[in-house]
């Protein structure tokens, strides 16, 4: 089951959000608070992962992949530019990093980064082609509903 997709830019503001399979849509106020919590968590956990690594090389493969709780699993894909793609699924879902990687490497690069109306300095992504690609990817995923 896929619950939500977040895209954060390098400044940790949430530039894209979409949710699925929820009994009712999230309250916008709670949503803003949740965005803040997730971005704060991403930052702290990244620091943590680097500090705790056995080999003290900051460039080593210390990046956060996913974490799992009893209620959900959170997958993260981070590009070197600081764009972060976060997917929330049920705890039994398989590894989703491949899907997030595809989303970044094809859809984000083609429809957002190359879109002249998108401002990399911190705009929300407001692009129909990207949204359509997200829907296609998520709804077409074998784990979308199960």
């Amino acid at each position: 089951m896929i619950y939500a997709l977040y895209v954060f830019n390098r400044k940790f503001s949430c530039v894209y959000y979409c949710e699925w399979n929820r009994p009712e849509p999230s309250d916008p106020e709670k949503l803003a608070a949740r965005h803040k919590l997730i971005s704060g968590m991403l930052y702290s956990l990244k620091q943590f992962c680097v500090k705790i690594a056995v080999e003290q090389d900051p460039n080593d493969k210390t990046e956060l992949h996913c974490y799992r709780t009893g209620a959900y699993k959170l997958h993260v894909y981070e590009a070197a530019t600081g764009m972060r793609f976060v997917l929330m699924t049920d705890p039994q879902a398989p590894d989703m990093n491949g899907a997030l990687c595809t989303l970044y490497q094809t859809d984000f690069v083609d429809y957002v980064a190359k879109n002249p109306l998108y401002n990399p300095a911190g705009d929300t992504i407001n692009c129909d082609l990207f949204s359509a690609a997200v829907q296609r990817l998520v709804r077409g995923h074998p784990n979308f509903r199960s």
């Binding site: 971005s39 704060g40 930052y43 460039n59 094809t106 690069v109 190359k114 990399p120």
Partner: protein, 195 residues
């Protein structure tokens, strides 16, 4: 070890170039030429036009870097660990991938804070010729957009640099050389309210 790594970079660059969609290089150089000519007419001075080109390049660079990361295949080779490796990647992978030219790293400084990217062919300036008034004293940096692209792209990767043309075939030099000076290794951004 170092030599084999350089060869790897060249190979990655070749492969990336082969995967890229191509545009006609004459179309590119003529369009770019028209753009520079128009800027010269609009800007109060050739120096100002050069600065404007650099700013345009910067805005290209901050976007282009995403495509570079996604499509170059450099990610598989691992992140760049130092400025020397960054320099190799810019010259051998990025220049090949986006311009189709083979560039080399020249005269890197011992402290790894500066390097030059040298390339003989410049697709932007293929048909260009500078009049004496503009070439003298390097008043117009015809291909300054490239400096901007490098600055914009590296800034997104936490490396603040300054770039300028130190040798330009258009100004009578035997090769093109862009000098890149590292100003700052930027810290990661923090969330707005992080303690």
């Amino acid at each position: 070890m170092a030599a084999s790594k350089d060869k790897d970079k060249a190979k990655i660059g070749e492969a990336a170039w082969a995967r890229m969609d191509k545009v006609n290089s004459e179309l590119l150089s003529l369009t770019y030429g028209a753009l520079v000519a128009q800027l010269l007419r609009d800007a109060p001075s050739p120096e100002e036009a050069s600065a404007q080109l650099e700013r345009m390049g910067y805005n290209i660079g901050v976007r282009l870097v995403e495509e570079f990361l996604a499509r170059s295949g450099a990610r598989a080779a691992g992140p760049c660990r130092d400025v020397a490796e960054t320099a190799e990647t810019v010259a051998k992978v990025a220049f090949k991938m986006f311009l189709g030219v083979s560039a080399t790293v020249a005269s890197a400084s011992a402290e790894h804070r500066e390097f030059s990217v040298a390339f003989d062919e410049n697709p932007l300036a293929e048909f260009a010729e500078l009049p004496e008034a503009l070439a003298g004293g390097a008043r117009l940096q015809y291909s300054n957009v490239l400096c901007g692209v490098i600055r914009g792209a590296l800034e997104m990767l936490q490396l603040r640099v300054e770039c300028r043309f130190v040798r330009d075939v258009l100004a009578g030099a035997d090769t093109n050389e862009i000098r890149v000076v590292v100003k700052e290794f930027m810290a990661d951004d923090k969330p707005p309210d992080a303690e």
